[in-house]
Amino acid sequence: MEQTNFQLKNQKTQSNDWSARLHHATRATREDWMGKGISYLCIGVIILVVASMLWFITSKGIATFTQNHVSLVKFLTGTNWAPDQGQIGALPMIVGSFAVTFAAAIVATPFAVGTAIFMTEISPNRGRKLLQPVIELLVGIPSVVYGFIGLAVVVPFMRHLVGGSGFGIISATFVLFVMVLPTITSMTVDSLRAVPRHFKEASLALGATRWQTVSRVILRSATPGILTAVIFGMARAFGEALAVQMVIGNAAIMPKNLISPASTLTSQLTTGIGDTIDGTLPNNALWSLALILLLMSLFFNALVRVIAKRGQLKHER
């Protein structure tokens, strides 16, 4: 190699060639450019999708207020949903969505935390062999199947138990409880596992029982993670469409109790969007519901971030 180098230096015509070769990109560099190009392109596609999704749904969603001049306050506080007659009070759906979300989270959290404690503290071996597959299977069951079982089992059961049609918030809560359970459980397990071992050992060494250790040390220090898990579960419940739509009864009226037909943002969207004409008030009103869903999803996202940041600060202190 050095010899050729020397020879090249002595030959004037080829020295130009050499400098050209030194100043030109090698094959590896060109490959790197290509690779960079491809991967930048792919990430660009994803960014474009997200940006256009936010843009399109926002611009469609605010048309109710900018084109049809419906007041935002009336939309958010009105209780009469009859878009054909120009009545678009979205409060029944908003209340319905929040009711099923909170109810499902409240019921699911103790079960999820209990299961997670079992998997990490009480019997890690059985936890891995038995419960891990259980959680994965629960995640894997498609939402329409949950809806179908809700329709075939939960709704008749509620009908027997309390009378009425059986459709309503309580049936939706039942279905959503099972659907968010694996989400909350698996994330809680992660946060319990992340608790430093010496916390637990220190507590046990002080003579604390297992439950004292779990409740006063492990759960306390995993609180930000558990909260995050619950919020993820709530986000899933809030956005779930078909399973809820199948069991809630889809009546766009203010829910008076937990056992009468109600509706959520998602259920109203699934049943309504195909029956309305693009650009009309009934259609725009539905897009406004979609916008609320989008904003709530962004809100849940932001909340998770805030909690994560606070949790970090706590650990650093």
């Binding site: 490959e31 792919c42 256009s52 399109f56 329409v144 179908f148 195909g274 897009w287």
Partner: protein, 295 residues
């Protein structure tokens, strides 16, 4: 109450909770399989649906589900592979990368019905493609991209630094290192993720109702020319999938045996998803053994 008794009580309660959770799963699976499987027959799996009542077999829906899954994977795997490589290899730790990461997080947390509505708005309303396989496949891609990207990025990042340095020190480009060395090592994790996401895509319905549509026109399975309107491969025909079919039979169906029909269809769907989960595990383990040469 003393501490020991509280401890005992807490343990009992937690045991009960775990038993309930396991019981729920067993009940769900048993209910679907026991009420559904007796109605699953060869003619049910291959038969056609009566367009008016929704009664009859699920042959077309089953084909549609697999076809949509295939198209979705063909579109989403290359994009998420590129994006995953970007995040694992090229992305610097700065505000732009964290913005990109938040965008992916936002996409993954969007309700699938919102993703479906966006697909509906874009393809059916704006581009006027109508309810079609291709609209459905792209909507499912939107829904699938963030999870697949994150999975690929995690699998790539988990490969040890030594492998990267070895590749670079041999004079290979970053790209060649990534494709030729890192990717094969990360393959078991990536394949597991892909098969698991396939199970999710297979069962998804909310994103499809207004993109792939709710009708399954009877297609001519002897005609494999994708350009023919009657061909099953034509990407511009409406295609109701199995999951959408279950929803439709239950909410709008007029079939007298709707409960049996949807139980049978649910059983087929559940078995398919279970098979995907099983395949993910087996394939992941198999590839892991092949790549790492560990027994």
């Amino acid at each position: 109450m003393n501490a020991k008794r509280t401890d005992f009580l807490a343990t009992v309660i937690i045991d009960l909770i775990v038993a309930t959770v396991v019981g729920i799963l067993i009940f769900l699976l048993a209910y679907i399989l026991i009420s559904g499987l007796p109605h699953v027959s060869w003619s049910f799996l291959t038969g056609t649906t009566d367009a008016f009542s929704g009664a009859g077999g699920i042959g077309v829906q089953l084909f549609n589900s697999f076809y949509l899954l295939f198209l979705t994977m063909v579109i989403s795997i290359p994009i998420s592979l590129g994006a995953g490589i970007y995040l694992a290899e090229y992305a610097k730790d700065n505000w732009r990368t964290s913005l990109i990461r938040s965008a992916i997080e936002v996409l993954s947390s969007l309700p699938s019905v919102v993703v479906g509505l966006f697909g509906f708005l874009l393809f059916v309303v704006k581009f006027k493609i109508g309810f079609s396989v291709i609209s459905g496949a792209i909507a499912l891609t939107f829904f699938n991209l963030p999870l697949l990207t994150r999975n690929i990025e995690e699998s790539l990042s988990a490969v040890s630094r030594d492998q990267r340095e070895a590749g670079l020190s041999l004079g290979l480009s970053k790209w060649k290192t990534e494709i030729g060395i890192i990717l094969p090592v990360a393959l078991p994790g990536i394949v597991t993720g892909i098969v698991l996401s396939a199970g999710r895509v297979f069962g998804e319905a909310a994103a499809l109702i207004y993109t792939a549509g709710q009708s399954a026109p009877v297609t001519n399975f002897a005609d494999w020319n994708p350009m023919d309107p009657a061909s099953p491969l034509n990407p511009f025909r409406p295609a109701e999938t199995l999951a959408v079919h279950i929803w439709k039979v239950n909410t709008e169906g007029l079939a007298s045996n709707a409960a049996q029909l949807s139980a049978a269809a649910s059983a087929v769907l559940i078995i398919a998803v279970l098979l995907f989960n099983l395949c993910a595990r087996l394939l992941g383990n198999f590839l892991y053994r092949r790549v790492t040469a560990s027994k």
